[in-house]
Every structure is written in C-alpha cells, then in structure tokens.
C-alpha cells in the first residue's frame, strides 16, 4: 500500500465529495410554494407530451367477451352535478360548429344512420376503479367525415347539457374505437349514463368521456380544455 494520507488532506477530499452532491438540493425547489405550481405543471405537461408520443392510432384497446361484462346495475354513475340535466329528448340536437363544411343541428336519427359499432371495453376512472361495459354508437371518425370536418384541426371540443365540457386531441377523436355512444348494454342510453348521446373512448380515462352532449366543435384553439383538466388534471390522459 502507498504511503499514508494525512488526516487534513482526507478531510478536504471528503468535503469536496460532499459538495458534489449539492445538486440534490435543487429538488428543494418543489417545496417552495411559488415554484411548486409551475414545476408540477411542467411535470404534468411532460407526462402528457410523452403520452401523446406513446399513443398509436392503429392500436386497439382490448375488447372483452360478454361474460366479462360488469353487470349494468353495477356500472358506476359518476356525474359532477346532476344525474339528469333534464334534456327534452324529443327536441334534442347536437349543434356542430367550427372547422366543418356542414355546421348545424344534427338529430339523433341522423347520427344513428351512420354505421353502428358495438364494443365491450374497459372503462377506467381516474379514481382507480375500472369496469367492463358494452357500448354502442357511431364512430366519431365517421361523424367527423359526415360533417366534413377538417381533421387537420387539433381538437374536437364538446359541451354538455349539465355545463360539463371536454376536448379531445384529433388522434383520439379519429381512433376507430372512439364512439358517439347512444347505447349501453344494447339499450338506449339511460338518463344517468348521459342520454341521449355521450362520448365513449376506450383509449382515454373516464372523465374525458362526457355525457349529455349538446355541442361539438372542431377547432385548433381551445378556450378551455375540460371541466377537470382546468382544475389541474391531465389534459391528455390517454390509457
């Protein structure tokens, strides 16, 4: 072994090694109230950016056998306000605006003329629970084609009869399993589940799947993102 190091030199080596760790203190920025919000927003934004990169348009969400279905009575009803916003189903129309060739009011019958899709898919709530439901409706992609939507626009934004609102990136909106849903378990949507029309998006978290749709807008600029998103939840939240 080489000749001994004297203890003063050893102390200075130790001090230098300890100082190298000072970057760890940078994490303390998360404890400073003024910096915490922008840092967490940046983190959530990065997660959303990565999520959008991970999304594959051609990749389908798993589908399930009828025997895997959660019984209809046990399909949760999560609303933020009321179970029934009191829509007059006979007079209901979906008002379409934005970057489309054929804006206007569309009846449920017009939407039901589009090819009907039925699928058993998993519904995942941000709270952590999940159920497998049976959904029926028209592909949003088909509807967008029917209204002559500019699918180079970035978003499809919807508004609901209960003041809820949501928006979807165009990749999710045109995904094959994204439905304008008017049936659950082969029956017309009940009021608690969003009659007469809701979004059903197996590639997105539950809160994206708005009920009681009344307005649909194709746009590249969002004034607001969504009811929960604008309170701090993930804007993209793809599964």
């Amino acid at each position: 072994m080489s000749s001994p190091t004297d203890s003063r030199k050893f102390k200075s080596i130790n001090r230098r090694e300890l100082l190298k760790l000072t970057p760890v203190l940078g994490l303390g920025a998360f404890a400073i109230p003024k910096l915490q919000v922008p840092l967490l927003n940046a983190g959530l934004g990065f997660s959303d950016w990565a999520s959008a990169k991970l999304f594959r348009s051609g990749h389908l969400a798993p589908t399930f056998a009828d025997s895997d279905l959660t019984p209809f009575a046990r399909f949760p009803i999560n609303d933020y306000d009321v179970d029934d916003p009191g829509i007059d189903l006979d007079k209901w129309t979906l008002t379409v605006t934005g970057a489309v060739q054929k804006p206007g009011d569309y009846t449920l019958a017009q939407i039901q003329e589009l090819p009907k899709v039925r699928q058993n898919t998993r519904h995942v709530c941000v709270e952590g629970w999940d159920v497998i439901g049976r959904f029926g409706g028209a592909r949003l992609a088909d509807f967008l084609k029917a209204i002559g939507a500019d699918t180079t626009a970035r978003f499809v934004a919807v508004e609901c009869a209960d003041d809820y609102y949501e928006s979807l990136d165009m990749a999710a909106a045109t995904h094959l399993q994204t439905l304008l849903c008017y049936e659950m378990y082969d029956q017309p949507l009940t009021r608690e589940h969003g009659a007469p029309l809701r979004l059903q998006i197996p590639t997105k978290i539950g809160y994206k799947q708005a009920k009681y749709l009344t307005h649909l807008k194709v746009t590249s600029v969002l004034q607001r993102v969504g009811y929960w998103e604008d309170q701090g939840y993930s804007e993209f939240y793809g599964l």
Binding site: M1, S2, P4, T5, D6, S7, R8, F10, I13, N14, R15, E17, L18, K20, L21, P23, V24, L27, F30, L39, L40, N41, A42, G43, L44, F46, S47, S51, L54, F55, R56, H59, A61, P62, T70, A73, R74, F75, P76, R122, V124, C125, V126, E127, G128, W129, D130, V131, P202, T203, W228, Q231, G232, Y233, S234, G238, L239
Partner: protein, 231 residues
C-alpha cells in the same frame, strides 16, 4: 474489486487508520435523489389510493382502509397525480442511471446478490435476528445486505412496470395482460410499495445501528475505519 482503500495518518496523534471509497459519486447522487422521489411517490400514491381505497368492485364499494390525508401528499386526487406523474420521471431516470452506472463501471459486483452468496445468508439472519455469532466481515456488503439491496432494485423495477401498466393499460396492454389485467396490476403496484417501505424501514434501522462513519460514506463516498480491511 474496484474499491479504493487508503491509509490515513492523523496529524496530531499519528494514529493510522484505513478508509475505503465505497460509494462512487453517481451512486450517491442516485441514492439521495431516489430517497426524495420515493418519498414523493409513496406519499402521492397513498393520496391517489384515497380516491378509491379498495381493490374490489366500485359497486358495492368496500373500503380496504381509511388512509389518513395527513399521511399522504398532494392534498387532493388531482394534486397527488401531479406529484406522481412528475416524480415518476425522476424516479425512473435515477433508476436507469443507477443500474446503467453499476453495470458499466462494474461497481455492481460489490452489491449484487449472486448464487455464491446464498450460504452466507443464514449466518447473517441468525446474527441479526436470533443473537447468533457475528460472521466475519470481509467486504463492504455482507450476503444479507446484498440480498436486501438487490431485492430493492428488483422491487423498484417492478414498481415502474406495474405503474406503467395502470397508467397506460391500452398502449401497454401486453404488460397489463402479463400482470393479469389492470385490476391485478393496480394491486401489485400497491403491494410492491409496501415491500419497498419494508425495505426502507429495515435499511433505516441498520443505518442507525451501524453508526456515523457508515452514514457519512453515503455522503462522501469514503468510509473511515471499515469493519473489514482491504490490502
């Protein structure tokens, strides 16, 4: 072994002691960043869990445990998700940096639990838990320590994989499927957290028992007067 040992001569007393460089800088950096991020991940994870503290059906919902808000981080579900989805990147990055450094530097050899460490496990367990005789200390990590630290790294990897499966059960549907579906992946994610907490508890107890020089070694890399001697 790439461990560096030096002898130190005290300037006043002339006493000669040994010091060993046990923890390279990258390992120490990852250790402390990970200590913070694991704390944040567990705290925010428990707050997320509070939104649906069950692993059964939503209807009827049977809560497993009423976890107190004071022992969680983020205040509400949205806030906790912000913490969780921010620190998971830090957690993953330090994990990758740690494992990458260990592999490429060869430093893993001092801590990786391998087959020939198996015979040494029982004597250490007997010493720690059953007041058995203390086996001779020959290197930085004894077989039981190697087992604990190697397990912790495996658990860390599993925590990420189960987390990805419940974050992206569609894009990584094969991963969720491997774990028995979203439901089981969520339960696994939760159980792995407790296993990691059990490790942290044992780790902290041992840090206290092993004293100051041992603790300082994770700050400066150098351990003064180790129990073993390197020639």
């Amino acid at each position: 072994m790439n461990t560096r040992a030096i002898t130190i001569e005290d300037v006043k007393s002339g006493e000669v002691t040994q010091a060993v460089y046990e923890h390279p800088f990258i390992i120490r950096l990852c250790h402390w960043v990970n200590a913070v991020s694991l704390f944040v991940m567990v705290g925010s994870g428990l707050q997320i869990f509070r939104a649906f503290p069950s692993f059964g059906a939503k209807i009827p919902q049977k809560d497993l445990i009423n976890w107190p808000r004071s022992l969680a981080l983020g205040g509400w579900l949205g806030g906790a998700l912000q913490w969780h989805l921010t620190f998971m990147w830090i957690y993953i990055a330090t994990g990758l940096l740690y494992v990458g450094y260990q592999v490429f530097s060869g430093n893993y050899k001092q801590v990786l639990f391998v087959r020939r460490n198996i015979p040494g496990l029982w004597p250490m367990v007997r010493h720690y838990f059953l007041f058995g005789p203390k086996p001779p200390v020959r290197e930085a990590y004894n077989p039981l320590q190697k087992h604990a630290y190697t397990s912790a790294i495996v658990l860390g990897g599993l925590s990420v994989l189960t987390g990805v499966a419940i974050w992206k059960p569609v894009q990584f549907s094969w991963l969720a499927w491997l774990m028995g579906g979203f439901h089981w992946a969520r339960l696994s994610h939760f159980l792995i957290m407790w296993a990691l907490l059990a490790f942290v508890f044992g780790h902290l107890v041992m840090v206290v028992l092993h004293g100051w020089n041992n603790f300082v070694s994770m700050l400066t890399g150098w351990k003064k007067q180790p129990e073993y001697r390197l020639e």
